[in-house]
Symmetry: C2
Subunit: 368 residues, 2 copies
């Protein structure tokens, strides 16, 4: 159950180049499994931070890694991959960059021997970057795309998949083209859409913006992302991004035209279709509404007085129910709030019956 109890699948020394958020997080997770992690970074400060926080040891000149993980910014990824392949010809080299075709093309154009290179991309991250934000658990339950090709040996592929599995991620095989189209759709275009929408607020009257609610805040949350990294990512994946943008522009023109003549035949239907297709599309996203499908939710009414949540969680502890996640729906000034508790499915009945026996009101469960 716990990570400490597991043995690592990866063997030997793992060298991580780039001790930022992803590199240091991989280091933390592997170190916790007892793996020898050798960290390298062009920034001495970043490297010291990652080592101090327990992400691994400093790389040494005589390291003989079995696996090299390149976790550097996109614009230097292919250079570092080329250097690491040349320096450690026996090692498998992978990278964690968020675009897969461009670095591969660059390496092929230079005639680099790519026998032991396997591109990969863990779909994990945090809003905050850097070694200081690194956490061993950011990969757990997340997809980890692995791009094999005809040159890839089964043994090398197994090494990269072992890395993903050791970190709790789910390896998914995709071609670089499939990967880049997928991230254009579910990551790069959503970023641009959020930025474009938020960009419309720059010149808006203050009064207009005072009417903003949770909906628009959610829709534009990622517009707060740093430009530097996104210019690199979007530039490196421009063709698939443009394809999706063009489709989106056509859809946008259709609904704008319908609203230009709202009483014309078919106009209402075009607007309704836009909203309905949105319903259908968002329904296809895994883990929609931010809920984790591995858990069931139990919603409990909680009086708004100090100590009530303490009593609730104390009694859940007595019932041996572990709270996997929790959201408190609560408005200041209200006399009660709703605590939405996520528990493993087998604990739902124990939680509901136990809490009710202790006088708690259950507002709903996922199974309702």
């Amino acid at each position: 159950m716990s990570a400490r109890a597991r043995a690592a699948r990866v063997q030997g020394t793992v060298r991580i180049v780039g001790a930022g958020l992803l590199g240091a997080s991989i280091g933390h997770a592997l170190t916790a499994l007892g793996v020898d992690v050798a960290l390298d970074d062009t920034s001495p400060a970043q490297l010291r931070l990652a080592v101090d926080y327990g992400a691994g040891r400093r790389a040494e000149a005589d390291d003989e890694p079995s696996l090299v993980v390149v976790a550097v910014p996109p614009d230097v990824t292919s250079d570092v991959i080329e250097r690491e392949l040349a320096r450690f010809p026996q090692a498998v080299v992978t990278d964690v960059a968020s675009v897969k075709l461009e670095p591969l093309r660059a390496l092929r154009d230079r005639g680099v021997d790519l026998t032991h290179y396997i591109g990969s991309h863990p779909l994990a991250g945090r809003e905050r970057g850097g070694a200081i934000s690194a956490r061993a658990d950011i990969f757990i339950g997340r997809p980890w795309v692995v791009c094999r090709d005809d040159e890839t040996s089964t043994g090398d592929l197994a090494v990269v998949e072992a890395l993903a599995l050791d970190l709790g991620a789910t390896p998914i095989e995709m071609s670089p083209e499939e990967h880049d189209r997928a991230v254009a759709l579910v990551s790069h275009v959503p970023q641009l859409v959020a930025s474009l929408l938020a960009g419309r607020f720059v010149e808006a009257p203050d009064g207009s913006l005072s009417l903003a609610g949770q909906g628009v805040r959610d829709t534009t949350r990622i517009a707060a992302s740093a430009p530097e990294l996104w210019v690199q990512i979007l530039g490196a994946n421009s063709a698939p991004v443009v394809d999706v943008l063009d489709e989106l522009a056509a859809d946008l023109a259709t609904v704008a035209d319908a609203l230009r003549s709202p009483d014309a035949p078919g106009a209402r239907r075009a607007v309704a279709d836009t909203i309905r297709r949105g319903n259908e599309g968002v329904e296809r996203l895994p883990g929609k509404h931010g809920q984790n499908r591995r858990f069931e939710q139990v919603v409990v009414m909680v009086d708004d007085t100090p100590g009530q949540l303490g009593r609730l969680f104390g009694e859940l502890g007595e019932l041996d129910v572990n709270v996997e996640d929790l959201r408190l729906e609560h408005s200041p000034g209200a006399q009660f709030g709703l605590a939405e508790i996520s528990v493993v499915p087998r604990a739902v009945r124990r939680a509901v019956e136990g809490l009710q026996a202790r006088g708690w009101k259950i507002a709903s469960t996922t199974n309702d």
Copy 2:
């Protein structure tokens, strides 16, 4: 402090037409203040539910309301306003519809005497509709737009502002035109953008969607909204919505063209400008990042074992610290989670020092 302790500003009987989410929520809040609330609804079931849940009493034929609140669907709003003005010539009549110019135009076109009509719009709601989801506290801290005009008497205006204040909302005076442009920008276009983006997922390969993360889920969350209401809202506010959509389409074309020739002069800069303008725009939104600015956040490390949250909240209760909001950042399988606790500013030091004295690790506070 509590709602029960305050005296109501509104005087006499308040008649509420439409006992859905907004109508019933207004009823709950006024009833809690001791106001006589007369509820009416064309649906007997909805009316019974609202009365049973304590949102007010059934309207009677001889009611003499001082204020009528029309809280019916947008497509019947102007009809109901006209009827109520004729039936209760001494009362102030307001509505809570989310578009303000169209119903006003319809009423003017019919030559209705609008002396005692003041349009308003509370920016409040929940994902779930209906009387059963009604809550007295949904207006607290939210803006409540009030549209006066030259005919509006100071006395009538004071009645509608008293209603907003009684419900804990902040009255904001705007013209119907200003209001409709503002909600086009911060509500109606964000809805369409989320729907259009999510609509692109309908025909995407399953594999692509498996790479979706929290960013795209947030960006498309409101795409789950019901089509019926949105077709009415967008149709009623089409001109301002089209204006924003056209601007957005132009911005989108600019960045798509830049990405079509990513190495052309100025292309990187155009992409960077898009992201940077997004940064600037999202920064202007009140309450950005979904955090409530009235509270400070304290982040506490919590071991992943049953009873730990119970101990934490029990000890916060002992410290007399009330938890106003809470988010648990937690990955299944990790050895610990982070509990982000929102407390009133004056409780931060008491919480931090008290918890540390009891052996808890504080990961950060808002003041860091």
